[in-house]
Amino acid sequence: MKSYGTVLIVDDSSTSRMIIQRCIQMAGVPVENYLFAENGLDAMAALKGHAEIDLVVTDINMPKMDGRTFTTIMKGDAGMAGKPVIIVSSIADSALEAELRSLGVQAVVKKPVSPAKMLQAIGGE
């Protein structure tokens, strides 16, 4: 199973951030450290300040900068484009997944997340 140094979890809901982290832990994916951001703007700042981030897990529907915009900007930045991105969203469906995958997103997980879903999305690499 692939292991990660630092995972950035981006969600405006503190409940959701906690649930995502717990699901990754329960899935048994080895992660040394977690960082958190409440929206895409904060996530961009976190990525610029923490080069060690090697996985981003982000919601779509957020204030200030949504996950679509954040992912588009991130994947257009040569310094960040190589970092894998997992989308978690209550509105994830096949059309949205196709759109996001075309941006370079690794996987799309429909909420509610579970350890099994997170393992499938990030643990199998």
């Binding site: 809901s13 409940t15 959701s16 906690m18 204030p63 509105i91 096949s94 909420k111």
Partner: protein, 154 residues
């Protein structure tokens, strides 16, 4: 909006979304309430709403006693209760219920656009007529999911 929603089917699917979301996120069983239940009977009520812009214009609300929200956060945060921050667990549950309901009602692949969920404070007037409502019993505490007809421009 009224023409596109079948109230009976919507109420049944609201109940299904409510039940599965509470079970998956908070490990709380929600079953249809026995007998006639009314939101007005909720003690210390909390009400949260999320506006749906696509595929139809409407508002979905959840209401329950504040004690149920506190119980959900105690279950979810366990030993990290000081990290619960904005006490937004009910908002996250509403967000997931909305996604589940819209997928169940309109089918996977439907283009969905949601606003951010929010708490409705004080005695905010009701927005729009009730299209469908599910009255649930969350292990002894009432919880309601209500779909209202509201027309938004976006």
């Amino acid at each position: 909006m009224n023409d596109t929603i079948d109230p009976g089917r919507a109420a049944a699917l609201l109940m299904e979304a409510l039940s599965s979301t509470f079970a998956d996120l908070a490990f709380i069983d929600v079953e249809p309430a026995a007998g006639a239940a009314s939101e007005k009977d909720i003690v210390s009520p909390l009400r949260a709403a999320i506006d749906v812009l696509k595929p139809v214009s409407c508002r979905l609300e959840i209401s329950c006693p504040a004690g149920l929200r506190d119980r959900i956060e105690a279950i979810l945060f366990q030993d990290k209760i000081e990290e619960r921050g904005e006490q937004d667990s009910l908002l996250e549950i509403l967000n997931v219920v909305a996604g589940q309901f819209l997928t169940l009602y309109f089918g996977a692949g439907t283009d969905v656009k949601l606003e951010l969920p929010q708490y409705l404070y004080l005695a905010e007037p009701d927005e729009g007529a009730i299209l469908a409502q599910a009255a649930g019993d969350a292990e002894g505490e009432p919880v309601f999911a209500t779909l209202r007809s509201v027309r938004y421009r976006y």
